[in-house]
């Protein structure tokens, strides 16, 4: 027999000492440098997207064929693409899609996955069984292939593609929400809420949702990153965003086509994608670690 001693770094603080404020989770998050940097980047991205017309030095669609595939210069800080368009301006405008596209698919996933997950976690029974099987079926489909199939049926376009991805993401969100709800539903404070006369609706809004917020948010940030990459992939294949609009994915495709003439042309869009996905994931990690640490203390 082996003995393990579960040691916790100190019991709960005495009342009056170590006082935690109302937004203590946010405060702990702000103390993490990785979170601050990642969240800061995302905020920066939102600002750039919002102020794109003011920031972009050129019209993103303006073609100046004499200046094709030029490298960085003072007038074109990141160079030009194969049609002479300013890469920096295109990058800035495409930031809008970089935020919008994941938002569409994650919203679809939330609409489909969260209510089902809540219901399955709270009520269980046959609802749980049915939604569980449905989600298992969806999970067994390869995501991108499914999206391609939907696009083939509905026609290419960013919106269709992102809705398809949303359907693909829904099961994973459903699982997370269901699992978290199951755990919370077992807690004594839910039974207490029922005992004082709360309706199931109130219990879900007031007591369940805030307590599953953390795992939910973590999953959402992961999905945002995956959605962005999915959009980039689809646009790279020409099935996502359609010209004249462009996203980072389609910019990558253009750069890829001209890689022998301008090998570094993949860098702007590629870097933007990497940084954004990394930021989403880092924010998710930070939330997860902060909540886990607090639970253990």
């Amino acid at each position: 027999m082996t003995a393990t001693l579960q040691f916790q770094a100190g019991p709960a603080p005495a009342v009056g000492t170590a006082r935690r404020g109302r937004t203590s989770t946010v405060a702990s998050l702000m103390r993490r440098p990785s979170f601050v940097v990642a969240a800061g980047f995302l905020v920066f991205l939102v600002v750039v997207a919002a102020l794109a017309p003011l920031i972009a030095p050129h019209d993103p669609s303006a073609q100046v064929l004499e200046d094709r595939l030029k490298g960085p210069s003072w007038s074109h800080l990141l160079g030009t693409d194969d049609l002479g368009r300013d890469v920096l301006s295109r990058l800035v405008y495409a930031a809008r899609l970089a935020l919008l596209a994941p938002l569409i698919s994650v919203s679809v996933a939330i609409l489909l996955g969260v209510p089902a997950g809540l219901w399955a976690g709270m009520r269980r029974g046959w609802v749980d069984a049915v939604t569980g099987r449905l989600s298992d079926t969806l999970l067994s489909l390869p995501g991108l292939a499914f999206a391609l199939a939907v696009v083939a049926v509905l026609g290419p376009g960013l919106f269709n593609a992102m809705v398809a991805m949303g359907i693909v993401f829904a099961p994973s969100l459903y699982r997370v929400v269901r699992g978290a709800t199951l755990a919370v539903a077992e807690e004594s404070y839910i039974e207490s809420a029922r005992a004082i006369g709360c309706s199931t609706r109130r219990i879900i809004w007031v007591h369940v949702l805030p307590n599953i917020a953390a795992p939910f948010l973590v999953q959402v940030t992961i999905l945002m990153g995956v959605a962005l990459l999915a959009e980039a992939s689809l646009s790279f294949l020409g099935l996502g965003v359609q010209p004249p609009d462009s996203s980072w994915g389609s910019m990558l495709e253009v750069a890829y086509q001209n890689q022998y003439d301008a090998p570094l042309a993949v860098l702007p869009a590629g870097t933007a994608l990497v940084l954004t996905v990394l930021s989403f994931n880092t924010v998710g990690d930070a939330i997860r670690d902060t909540v886990a640490r607090r639970r253990d203390s």
Binding site: M1, F7, G10, P11, P13, A14, T17
Partner: protein
């Protein structure tokens, strides 16, 4: 008895610190007590008092961040603090058996009950599988499990909590130990089962001349089972005495307050004496007497100084300067 009168376990000035990124000193500080041969000693206190830390430290079962930074632990003459891994492994499960609180998580769910009991004998006494299993059957019988021959091959989850605890006890005594350390062995059990388990421990103690160190927070269990009591509070030993004098004439204000706060027959429907305040958290121990902020007899200058142990009566010790210098005399309420 012609046995030597040396205690089988002797702890002197034990101090345990938490080392690592957060350093906390004196989680257990200057703990001294003995477990004499064949007697049962209770280590009693509330959560945060350090009794489990102390018990675990005897067999050096603490995680690496908890270190013994001062003091001495001697088991039958062997220095446990500086002993090698090999020596320790030879002692654990052999001459010293251990019973933990929750049998469900302390027994290996993938091994049969018989194999777990036999394991100790095979490791310490070098018995063969067959010999050890035969002995396991015998032990199951001895701890009161019916159908021992069949139950030897049963898995822990097939047994009730009380039976699992009997299995743990069987494993602990498998190699005829001199000392059994039991950490809250009956806390998770129903009270009627608890009575059976205590009865079992008592009879085993008598038959085998076992010494028992019982860690508990239950005053009733102490009154029932133990010969000597060591009372701990916030990492300090505040009082040590044989069981009857401790209950009849407690010498430390904490012990007195604890006894007064427990419901007893004859005091039904009366207000109990509540100890104000809370147990101080590990990083915030007061200097000197750690019970001081909650003690109704506290006098600042005297109690903030380090409190040595006094012996107001032979065999009855307490760590309170005011009591030791006869400045304070406690009269038990009720």
């Amino acid at each position: 008895m012609t046995q030597a009168t040396d205690p089988v376990l002797s702890v002197r000035g034990l101090t345990i610190d938490l080392v690592g990124p957060t350093r906390q000193r004196g989680l257990v500080e200057d703990v001294t007590f003995d477990v004499p041969q064949g007697r049962s000693v209770a280590l009693i206190g509330e959560s945060g008092c350090g009794k489990t830390l102390t018990a675990m430290s005897i067999l050096r079962l603490l995680p690496p961040e908890l270190r013994v930074t001062a003091g001495e632990i001697r088991f039958a003459g062997t220095d446990m603090v500086s002993a090698s891994g090999r020596t320790l492994r030879g002692i654990r499960g052999g001459p010293v058996g251990m019973v933990f609180q929750d049998p469900m998580s302390s027994l290996n769910p993938t091994m049969t009950v018989g194999d777990q009991i036999a394991e100790a004998r095979r490791l310490h006494l070098g018995e063969s599988r067959g010999q050890a299993r035969a002995k396991a059957r015998e032990l199951l019988d001895r701890v009161g499990i019916a159908n021992a021959a069949r139950r030897v091959d049963v898995y822990p989850f097939e047994m009730s909590g009380g039976m699992q605890q009997r299995v743990m006890i069987a494993a602990a005594i498998a190699c005829e130990p001199r000392l059994v350390i039991a950490d809250e062995p009956t806390t998770a059990l129903d009270v009627t089962i608890q009575a059976e388990i205590l009865e079992l421990l008592r009879s085993l103690q008598e038959q085998m001349g076992l010494a028992v160190l019982l860690v508990t927070h239950d005053l009733g269990v102490v009154a029932d089972f133990c010969d000597d009591v060591v009372v701990m509070y916030a990492g300090h030993v505040v009082e040590r005495a044989p069981v009857e004098p401790l209950f009849a004439r407690p010498r430390h204000p904490y012990t007195l307050a604890l006894l007064d706060s427990v419901p007893q027959a004859g005091r039904a429907r009366t207000m109990l004496d509540v100890i104000p305040g809370r147990v101080p958290p590990a990083g915030a121990f007061p200097t000197g007497c750690r019970f001081q902020p909650r003690c109704r007899f506290a006098v600042e200058q005297v109690c903030a100084a380090p409190q040595p142990e006094f012996e107001p009566e032979p065999g009855h010790r307490c760590r309170c300067v005011r009591v030791g210098t006869h400045e304070l005399s406690l009269e038990k309420v009720s």
